[in-house]
Amino acid sequence: MVSSWMLCLATGWSQQVHKAVPAQKKAEEKKEAEKDVPLYQGLSLEWEIAGLGSYLLGSDILNSEIALRANLKNRFLPVVEVGYGKADAINDGNDLHYKTSAPYFRIGLDYNIFHKKTHLPGYIYAGLRYGMSSFSYDVSGPDMTDPNYGGAYVTPYSYSGVKSNASWLEGVFGLKVKIYKGFCMGWSVRYKMRMSVKEHENSVPWYVPGFGKNAGSSFNLMYNLIYNLPF
């Protein structure tokens, strides 16, 4: 139904080009066509697999998430993302060990830049996310020996169950391409800006689930397998 409407719309546009319809009429027709697009255009379920792939290839960090995305008027794409981030990393150079694992959540909205190009097998989108995670981490390292005063004092460094939370914003730019029937795939690039992270007196989190390594900002590339739900 939707695809036949898309086809009609595309044909209509091509006719308009040849007949040179007055600009006002053209605008009215365009407005009319947009008005006819039903609000609800479907739901899709997405699974991000780049983080999992990276973990299987030997990374100390595991990051995987699923997202539920709605399509409204083929233009607005509200999305909810739920993921799980885990890090268990040891720096061989200084024997520091950092460990955490926790879920994270994001909510946001994308805009289909190609909403007029309905004849294409996919679309490009841009959007924003707000992400948050509440987590605890363990951090430990070798005993700290005083570099002065003959090294007379040695202090152990080990903290477990340190509680923290973080929130961040993400700018998203990505694409979704139809592969087969309801199955699609997509890439997206994300620029993340840290808004807040709770620090402990003895440490700052090194890795924040869902955000990545703790810094003011970071880039991320994601690869999604997508299934358009049949309702």
Partner: protein, 165 residues
């Protein structure tokens, strides 16, 4: 469709470039020093023109450990001195080898982890500071938190006469 392929390729290639944008957060200075400023009775910066030697001193068990931190320097207007990993550190200031003042600082030690790549460092919170007043007038704590931000923590007041003594 052609445009879509181009964008797809650009995004694929970006996967190899963006991870390189990660920024390391290691601070340039991983050591925390206590910063002392020399000021006169009016709060103006002054320098001690004669030779100054500073020895750090801690008690460890039954013995006292001395560490020479500054050796016969001249024109000293500020000091940056390391505290110990114990709970008290003394600094013995020897003015031209004749007169001495002893600054005693009690502190709480704060082991700190900033980054997996940068190691740990020791920060401090000054809980008390006392001094003898043979040459100097007084000692004021201006910032009790000693970290790697290189901020002034103490002011050491001297009485400076008109002839500079």
């Amino acid at each position: 469709m052609k445009k879509l392929s181009v964008i797809f390729c650009v995004m694929f290639l970006s996967a190899f470039f963006f991870p390189a944008c990660e920024v390391e957060n290691c601070p340039p200075n991983a050591l925390a020093f206590a910063y002392f400023s020399f000021v006169d009775q009016y709060g103006r910066a002054v320098a001690y023109t004669d030779t100054l030697t500073v020895v750090g001193q801690i008690d460890s068990g039954d013995s006292t450990i001395n560490d020479t931190l500054i050796n016969r320097e001249t024109k000293v207007s500020e000091l940056s001195l390391p505290l110990s990993y114990g709970t008290q550190t003394r600094f013995v200031l020897s003015y031209n080898g004749r007169t001495q003042d002893v600054i005693t600082i009690d502190h709480r030690n704060i082991p700190y982890f900033m980054n997996l790549d940068c190691g740990t460092m020791m920060f401090y919170e000054v809980t008390n500071a006392e001094t003898t007043t043979r040459m100097l007038d007084s000692l004021v704590i201006t910032n009790p938190n000693i970290d790697n931000n290189e901020k002034e923590n103490f002011k050491i007041y001297f009485t400076v006469t008109a002839d500079g003594e």
